[in-house]
Symmetry: C3
Subunit: 263 residues, 3 copies
């Protein structure tokens, strides 16, 4: 039996996430369901795409990832089921698949998109405002119960993709930006280990601060120090040891970051 994961912007107070679990378990009792995040910023598709990309790779093959950050609910936007390698995704066609899709393409994995157009796999009554309950959860349940994805909708080839900010290399170094700020106030950038590696002598510039060199981990410097290191997904991150870089630097998503080769 498959696992199911859930990413939404529903928050955790109203019980809408619980409703989706009830719908799934009615179809496929006892399947394990993991809450990944329900605190995606409202309607923030790019954030959902990032959280999905940071978490999906750590789940077993066959897992079904459901992502419902869906400002277009009730409009003509298509509901999708997607196969990327051994994993499956159920989500609106609004770009939230982008980061996992681009990685799958880089890795040469099988990629298949299906437009969910077969109402027999949905709840009987479909609201205009809660397709998480009425379409995405029941489809995930039927997938988890072993129904074939091919029966649930037509193949398509043109899913919507987000245009994600890419870092740029010039002779002085890399220029990127802050793409996420985590619970600890660590600043995650779109400059990756594969871009920079352990190049010596670099200086990292962000929010008026200048950091010399790359650290391996937080504990190398005393509490309160600014450090730049690689996060657990290989992104260059800027942190304050036992503190919040977001607070100390007043940084926000989208802020520019530079890595200079010859400071």
């Amino acid at each position: 039996m498959s696992l199911v994961t859930l990413i939404t912007d529903f928050g955790i107070k109203e019980g809408n996430v619980g409703v989706m679990k009830g719908v799934i378990w009615e179809i496929v009792p006892h399947v394990q369901i993991a809450d990944i995040s329900h605190l995606v910023s409202p309607q923030n598709i790019a954030e959902a795409a990032l959280i999905l990309a940071r978490t999906a790779p750590y789940f077993p093959g066959g897992t079904i990832h459901v992502v419902v950050v869906d400002p277009g609910v009730g409009t003509q936007r298509r509901p999708l089921a997607v196969i990327l390698g051994t994993q499956r995704f159920v989500l609106p066609d609004n770009g939230s698949i982008t980061m996992v899709l681009e990685r799958a393409e880089r890795e040469g994995l099988p990629v298949l998109f299906f437009h969910l157009d077969q109402p027999k796999f949905w709840r009987k009554e479909i609201s205009h405002v809660f397709h998480g309950r009425d379409i995405f959860a029941p489809v995930a349940g039927h997938l988890a119960s072993g129904q074939p994805i091919e029966a649930m909708g037509q193949r398509i080839e043109d899913p919507i993709r987000l245009s994600l900010p890419q870092p740029r290399l010039d002779e002085d170094g890399w220029r990127g930006e802050v793409i996420h700020i985590d619970h600890f106030g660590n600043l995650s950038t779109n400059i990756l280990f594969e871009h920079l590696g352990w190049k010596p002598g670099v200086t990292i510039l962000l929010g008026g601060a200048s950091i010399s060199g790359l650290a391996h981990t937080f504990g190398e410097k005393p509490p309160g120090s600014l450090v730049a290191l690689y996060g657990s997904n290989g992104n260059l991150i800027v942190c304050v040891v036992n503190g919040s870089a977001a607070v100390q630097l007043g940084a926000q998503v989208g802020d520019p970051v530079e890595v200079r080769f010859n400071p």
Copy 2:
């Protein structure tokens, strides 16, 4: 094996919810437990009743819903187990059952109340302050393991009910109030689809704003627009597309809302 759901006002930091799961799993290993909400406002029984009513219908028959918003813990208020149709409820006798009970009565479902007065289904030591752990969780565990509800307490006929605000109809239209504000800032009212349907030409008045006509979904209007539509449970809701009506209108639970027939 049954499912168990949990609604509390315990928050999610201290681990009290986890304690309830440990107690349940000690009695009935491997039962699936769904967190519905642990962010009910402290001691807010009416809010618990509303969240229960919005979520319970989407769970399979046999599910056991545990609700612990319990300002009367340790006093003479009775602990209850309740059958409404095919679903079961375990909760203090303080009115949190009201909305699901009234719906069950409207639908003519079987309704049975039991005063939990048999300590052999409880933990051995009963604190004065945490009956969620000491009475409600073990009772839910024993129910989930197949013990008969009739053995757990005497039938009663006089559960406490909340007096919930009802909308009023006069010749100008419906007058109701805001009964819930969700994570997105959408304002849910006690005026229902069954009251109003798709009556044309209506004007919705709330917090100084006037909205002409009913929308079908958020995406019909541009971001930032105020819209009135039906929420996923059939309540009339007032929303800002991709924004917060609560913030834009400064609205609160209890604020009056009017639907005028001939503006």
Copy 3:
């Protein structure tokens, strides 16, 4: 099959907790995992120790408790697996075990510590910043799947312990401090039922307020009253009925509390 519980300071937005579940379920499908708390204050090891001590006793024998509040991640601090009686613990060697350990020692339970030094029970690549994913979750998974703890590392005898504040008794009474403030604003102290019992005529002094006598439960006094009673773990707590003692008294963790015998 064992249960697994999780305590972290990761928050619930980024999905790092979900990643740990994916890693565990890849090793041992279908094991039940209970979130205890992911809102431990960042790097607050003492708070993690307290939440662990308040929750672990309510889980069945064999449960595996994973605690990742880990400011020393990536340094030389040791990863540990611990047996205390019938329960097991997987956590960094930073003192988060202290409170459950001291209780186990008082109760004369078997106590065994293992330094996790066998990488074959870890993920293949170990980051410097996320041992929850790379070491602690896979070790928990292998333990849950029945692998022997003895294979995972060498016995050690010198785990790090926190120095926890102890209450003092003099002829006037007990002097302790606030050790936790819960979701409701109740103030939990380190003075215990076993210290004080139901001694008559006591006065409790905290934050400039004076409370005469001990109550049995919240509902004995009218809403808004300050009361002192025993919490569900036997700690003396100071509360406002249906309100927040933390707000009313402006109290913080570490504030002194006195129980005077002859006021």
